[in-house]
């Protein structure tokens, strides 16, 4: 048991079953002390239930939860040094802001509660609102009060349950930066639950992508994006073009060849090939593809749609075997191609990821940001 630090949060084979379904299915993970960790997934994937079990608001059906060496599985929420920023903030409407922030300190009989609460409010830049009541503050301000109310107790783990969900886009971006600044300032372990992949990518050091009560992949944002371990992760985080192909021949010089349905040979990095699998999906992100260009892999197609978004243009290109691929071309001044144009789509070997073809190509693709 030496593989964890003194303040790490460990979930061991945690399962939570409700009457009719299993919300969390045998999850094990270790979250190092001081890290910014995100649980990412569509609604109903079990991420909030996982969070609530860490907070003590739900009891796991099986498994155990440790903070450092202390088993907290059976502890009540008020016995755990864990605090939550709730999705709806859950500020106490009958108390003013400073009393809201000081609630936990006074509950623990901290004699210095006044100064600490004021400091926490100052940290979120709301020191001047101490005497106001929650309904008098805007959503963004209430969110920061909720954060201060949790932070001020210096918990071992701070839980954030979609805390930015109710804010508009601009405020959300601002709060993302703010949260990250505060987290690095205070050095607490943050666990952030979200369904917004961009939010998770910008903020977290490590992300666990959850689907149907299980962890699909646990990795840093770059790995998740560049080397998704399943079609669900490939589709849920950004867009992916998945081309069915068959491994052809043995790899040489670190490169392998796969053959598409149409008989086109594609060159891929041999290390990307999953062992022992011949039927594969070759995945390429839209921005790795070039129209025209002299990449090693080339496929012919026809432009069927072009939409200009300012920084880039997104093209749909239909391949001869009726498969449409998405190509995102940076607005680098090269001009826009018309619909109906014959084009070559190209990319360099090694920019792909490869998955087992037995996985559903559409998994995770239909899920929107609510």
């Amino acid at each position: 048991m030496a593989d964890h630090g003194p303040g790490d949060l460990r979930l061991t084979e945690v399962t939570k079953s409700f009457e009719r379904f299993t919300a969390v299915d045998d999850i094990s993970l270790t979250i190092p002390q001081g890290s910014f960790f995100a649980l990412l997934g569509p609604s109903g994937c079990g991420k909030t239930t996982t969070l609530r079990m860490v907070a003590g608001l739900e009891q796991p059906t099986r498994g155990s939860i440790h903070i450092g060496d202390v088993d907290v599985t059976a502890l009540k929420p008020y016995q755990r040094n864990v605090n939550t920023v709730f999705q709806s903030y859950a500020l106490f409407p009958h108390l003013n802001i400073i009393d809201n922030v000081a609630f936990g300190l006074r509950q623990r009989k901290d004699a210095d509660w006044k100064r600490k609460a004021q400091e926490a409010l100052d940290l979120v830049e709301l020191g001047h609102t101490a005497r106001k009541r929650p309904p008098q503050l805007s959503g963004g301000m209430q969110q920061r009060v909720a954060l201060a109310r949790a932070l001020v107790n210096r918990p071992d783990v701070l839980l954030l349950d979609e805390p930015l969900g109710a804010l508009d886009l601009k405020l959300r971006r601002q709060m993302q930066i703010e949260l990250k600044r505060i987290q690095s300032e205070v050095g607490l372990t943050f666990i952030h639950v979200t369904h917004d992949q961009e939010e998770a990518m910008t903020m977290a050091d490590t992300i666990a992508v959850m689907n149907a009560g299980r962890i699909e992949q646990l990795a840093d944002p770059t790995t998740l994006y560049e080397k998704p371990a399943s079609t669900f992760v490939a589709n849920f985080l950004g867009q992916s073009n998945l081309l069915p192909a068959q491994v052809a021949g043995d790899p040489t010089d670190g490169l392998a060849t796969v053959r598409t349905q149409d008989g086109d040979d594609l060159v891929v990095a041999a290390e990307h090939l999953p062992a022992g699998i011949r039927e594969v999906w070759v995945g390429v992100r839209p921005e790795k593809l070039r129209l025209g260009g002299d990449g090693r892999n080339q496929l012919r197609g026809v432009v069927t749609d072009a939409s200009f978004t300012g920084v880039a243009t997104q093209y749909l290109v239909r391949l001869p075997w009726d498969k449409e691929v998405v190509v995102v071309q940076q607005n680098d001044g090269s001009g826009k191609l018309p619909v109906g144009e014959n084009v070559t789509v190209s990319w360099e070997a090694g920019q792909e990821f490869i998955l087992d073809q037995r996985q559903d190509a559409d998994a995770g693709a239909e899920i929107d940001d609510e």
């Binding site: 008020y78 859950a90 609630f103 936990g104 949790a150």
Partner: protein, 265 residues
């Protein structure tokens, strides 16, 4: 025309206010009357007699005292019991919950005559003599329903996450109740208690069935007096009740707005 269109809401509002308040004002005005004989229905001359001697009519102050006593005991008991019932119904799922809900609703739906007479039948069958105790039992019963309904509505509007937040911030269930749940439900409890008191204070029908000649409440006294001509003192006590209620509400408003302003400052 445009003037009417612009001020229509205010005009109608004032008319409705007049419609509601006029009877009270008539009662107030006639409390200063000095009637010629028994009937206090035509204006004779201004007098402070009744205001200076409000008890100067046989039995009137005893009946007011009894009504106050019954009102306070019944509303307090019903508030305590009703709040407990409301929490049980609002927060817990248990066998017989639907039945309890129905039972609580029954006294509000049943005509008072039916309830009063069946209670009397019950007391006679049990061999219990009617009087203050039976009046109290009857009042607590119907007040309970109103308290439960009022408090339950308040509990239902409470965000359950607030209690989770309290628990998350180290409050055990008892502390969470004292510091979060109770203060937030308190306005509902107060409203229920006031409703219960006023219902108890002016109930006539149920009370009349379950009273004895020695337990005459204020509404019963007025009814009895009305046969012979209502004494001016009834107007005085009615006016005091009315003004007291207005003052109570006004005080509450002032308190609330001052609190609001303290929050903004």
């Amino acid at each position: 025309m445009t003037w009417i269109r612009r001020h229509l809401v205010i005009v109608i509002g004032l008319l409705v206010m007049a419609y509601i308040l006029l009877p009270n004002l008539v009662v107030l005005a006639y409390s200063f009357n000095k009637p010629n004989g028994r009937l206090n229905i035509t204006w004779q001359q201004f007098s402070l007699d009744a205001w200076l001697h409000p008890c100067n009519s046989p039995g009137i102050c005893t009946s007011v005292g009894l009504s106050l006593k019954i009102g306070i005991i019944a509303s307090l008991t019903a508030t305590v019991l009703g709040t407990l019932v409301a929490f049980a119904l609002g927060r817990h799922r248990f066998r017989g919950r639907a039945g309890t809900n129905l039972l609580i609703f029954m006294p509000m739906a049943t005509p008072e005559v039916v309830m009063g007479s069946s209670l009397l039948t019950l007391f006679i069958a049990l061999g219990v003599g009617t009087g203050q105790t039976t009046i109290l039992i009857a009042h607590i019963m119907f007040c309970l329903s109103f308290v439960v309904v009022t408090v339950k509505a308040r509990i239902a509007s409470l965000d359950p996450r607030l209690e989770e937040a309290a628990a998350d911030l180290y409050a055990n269930p008892l502390q969470a109740f004292r510091r979060v749940t109770f203060p937030l439900v308190a306005p509902g409890i107060a409203a229920g208690a006031m409703l219960a008191f006023s219902l108890s204070f002016d109930d006539y029908i149920i009370t009349n069935f379950n009273a004895s000649p020695s337990s005459v409440t204020f509404p019963m006294y007025i009814w009895g007096a009305a046969q012979r001509g209502v004494p001016v003192q009834v107007n005085v006590i009615g006016s005091i009740m009315f003004l007291g209620a207005v003052a109570f509400v006004a005080f509450g408003q002032v308190l609330a707005s001052r609190r609001e302003r303290a929050g903004t400052a």
